[in-house]
């Protein structure tokens, strides 16, 4: 092994510039890959943090599990029995959670639950002066909501407490307020689906950083939303639950379903479309960036092929005095791994430095209208797993590139080379 390492090292050292360029190619590929993964993962982590701050971790939905089962059973029977239905076979399936107060009491008794609040969403048209905008009024219990989300912390102007002080108070999303041209203290008019109108006073402007909230949502007292939707005092569109843990919510979700008889979703299920979008963007980016590594691998193959072509005579000599094919193969695979390993090491170091620099001195962007998330600062996730994984990928690519190139070396027939050289 020492001989193999020695010969491999001398080959590389005899072409310092070429070796350095090959290592630089791998290092660049690794560094760019790690930085991109850190960037994309940072974006996902940033989005998730924002989401978890302002959304309930679990949501009890209006959909009753019993109703679902009844519908499924009837749907199955209808296939064979030509049953015609003029309306769904449940007495009242309006999308509300009924008996919400009793349900919240039951939910509070479930271990792992830290906060519960009732919410009612009402589709309205909000108008201020001559400007009207479609919006969602999310009626909440202002005090209970503090145990469920950190919405209160997202109020940039005015205060969340205003909702408790004023029954007709509204905390309006920042972009929605901008479009309406309204500020704290202004009075808006909300018209619900039932045609009922209600005057609201802006007590706060919220900036959650999430487009879904800031562009079209206003938070009001629960009773206001219930009234505009024509719902009763014990009805809501959802029950919002905060759990002790953020991840691994499946057991609690099932428990809540059993306790309430309603369908329950975790925050990941509720936001699956957005999370999936980020993951897809991330995967596409990784694939594109991964090609940089593949190109670097081709650089190694190219470098080794050049050495092998140049060293064909030396290989023949080594073979003539006893080096086996396996030993010759090992000499060049070691070179490939050395180039790849050194490049991966330097690349990891470079990426770590770049991530540290841009974390200390972040790049900032202007917020974009209509963005899913208000991403105004480059957020980099720095996880040792990326380094280990990408360095391992670089080594595998290097080994494959070396094996690709080394086939020629192992095919060298000493006598043919020596006869040609004579």
């Amino acid at each position: 092994m020492r001989t193999i390492l020695g010969v491999a090292w001398r080959h590389l050292a005899s072409r310092p510039r070429q070796s350095a360029l090959t290592v630089a190619g791998v290092a660049l590929g690794v560094a760019v890959f790690i930085f991109t993964v850190a960037m994309m993962d940072g974006l996902l982590v940033f989005f998730t943090h924002r989401l978890v701050r302002v959304s309930p971790l679990l949501t009890v939905l209006p959909e009753s599990l019993d109703v679902t089962l009844a519908r499924e059973a009837l749907h199955y029977a209808a296939r064979d029995d030509l049953l015609t239905l003029s309306r769904p076979p449940v007495p009242d399936d309006r999308p509300t959670v009924r008996g919400a107060t009793a349900l919240t009491a039951r939910i509070r008794g479930v271990p792992g639950v830290e906060g519960v609040s009732i919410a009612a969403a009402a589709a309205v048209v909000l108008s201020f002066g001559t400007v009207a905008e479609p919006a969602t009024l999310l009626g909440v219990e202002p005090a209970a909501e503090l145990d469920v989300t950190e919405l209160a912390d997202s109020v940039a102007r005015g205060s969340w407490d205003g909702l408790e002080i004023r029954r007709d108070g509204a905390v309006v999303g920042a972009q929605l307020a901008d479009r309406l041209g309204a500020g704290v203290g202004d009075r808006l008019v909300a018209v619900g689906e039932t045609g009922q109108a209600r005057e609201l006073e802006v007590v706060g402007i919220s900036a959650t950083g999430l487009g879904a909230f800031d562009e079209s949502t206003a938070f009001v007292n629960l009773a206001v939303a219930q009234g505009l939707s024509g719902w009763g005092a014990d009805e809501g569109s959802e029950i919002r639950v905060r759990s002790r843990a953020i991840a691994g919510l499946e057991p609690l979700r099932r428990r809540l379903q059993a306790v309430t008889g309603h369908k329950v979703e975790t925050w990941e299920e509720t936001s699956r479309a957005s999370l999936q979008l980020f993951r897809t963007i991330g995967l596409t980016t990784y694939l594109l960036t991964g090609f940089v590594l593949v190109v670097a691998g081709l650089g190694i193959a190219n470098k080794l092929t050049t050495i092998i072509l140049d060293k064909e005579r030396d290989i023949a000599i080594l073979r003539s005095f006893g080096f086996s094919r396996a030993a010759v193969r090992a000499i060049f695979v070691v070179q490939g791994l050395a180039l790849g390993g050194l490049g991966a090491g330097i690349g990891c170091g470079g990426a770590a430095l770049a991530i540290a620099y841009f974390t200390a001195f972040p790049i900032t962007f202007a917020p974009r209208e209509g963005a899913v998330v208000a991403y105004t600062e480059l957020y980099l996730a720095n996880n040792p797993r990326y380094y280990a994984l990408i360095a391992a990928i670089a080594l595998v690519i290097s080994a494959l590139a070396a094996l690709l190139a080394v086939r020629r070396a192992t095919r060298v027939v000493p006598v043919e080379v020596l006869r040609g050289a004579a």
Binding site: T3, R10, D314, S320
Partner: protein, 258 residues
């Protein structure tokens, strides 16, 4: 002492001691029978060697001469296990080369045969001493103090004791070829094969290399077969083999013609 029997490993060891330790041995080191080799393909194929029979005894210093294209180098490569005959067989130290696999053949070349080529073929990244020790490295040795001392001694024997740390490019053509000779001897081979070792040297250096071969042959009873165009070499060797059109047409031993 004649050593015979099926245990060729023992026989080889005895031979080695015979060559390098002073014990006299006489069994044939190399036996070739009916060697035939065709080169080229299709219409361009031609028979380079036609039924060569050859036996080289231990301690012989033989030269092989013949015009260009007569098949001298081809024969040498076959005898050294670097090439495979189309027909016939080669046995070194009692082992038929055709019966061993590729890796075992490489090991046999390493342990039994030393090669010197027309070009020195030194590895340019390694010093003279490292080049000499390379065949020992190939079998996992060459790192001990004894091996190191042996390499230095060989360099001393070829007159390059003070050049051990020089790279090949820092040596003259004659010096490079002498390093190649030392490398061929480092494994204490049973048979030293040389393919026109002075072909690229001026007459002064050629004479030095010849004297070196002669000295090695006398000191160690080293069996040597040299392909050469050099008439002086041929005239002064113990045995002169003549090759013409792929056939062995002459075999002379110290004035005796066979």
């Amino acid at each position: 002492m004649v050593v015979a029997g099926p245990d060729w490993h023992l026989w080889r060891i005895q031979l080695r001691f015979g060559c390098w330790g002073g014990t006299v041995v006489t069994p044939p080191v190399l036996v070739a029978r009916n060697l035939t080799r065709r080169l080229g393909v299709g219409a361009a194929a031609r028979e380079v060697l036609r039924g060569i029979d050859l036996t080289i005894a231990a301690g012989e210093f033989a030269t092989l001469v013949g015009p260009s294209g007569s098949g001298k180098s081809t024969l040498l490569y076959l005898l050294g296990g670097l090439d495979h005959p189309d027909a016939g067989s080669v046995a070194i130290g009692g082992t038929a080369l055709a019966t061993v696999g590729d890796d075992e053949l490489a090991r046999m070349r390493n342990r039994l045969i030393g090669f010197v080529y027309q070009f020195h073929f030194l590895l340019p990244e390694f010093s003279a001493l490292e080049n000499v020790l390379m065949p020992l490295w190939a079998r996992g040795g060459g790192r001990s103090r004894e091996d190191h001392a042996w390499g230095v001694e060989l360099l001393g024997r070829v007159g390059l004791a003070d050049m051990a740390d020089k790279l090949p490019r820092e040596l003259s053509g004659g010096e490079q070829q002498r390093v190649a000779v030392a490398r061929a001897l480092v494994n204490r081979p049973v048979l030293l094969l040389a393919d026109e070792p002075t072909g690229n040297l001026d007459s002064a250096n050629a004479r030095v290399v010849y004297e070196l071969f002669r000295e090695i042959n006398r000191s160690f009873s080293q069996t040597i077969l040299v392909v050469t165009h050099d008439i002086e070499w041929a005239a002064r060797s113990d045995r002169l083999l003549r090759l013409l059109d792929g056939r062995l047409v002459g075999d002379e031993r110290r004035g005796e013609s066979v």
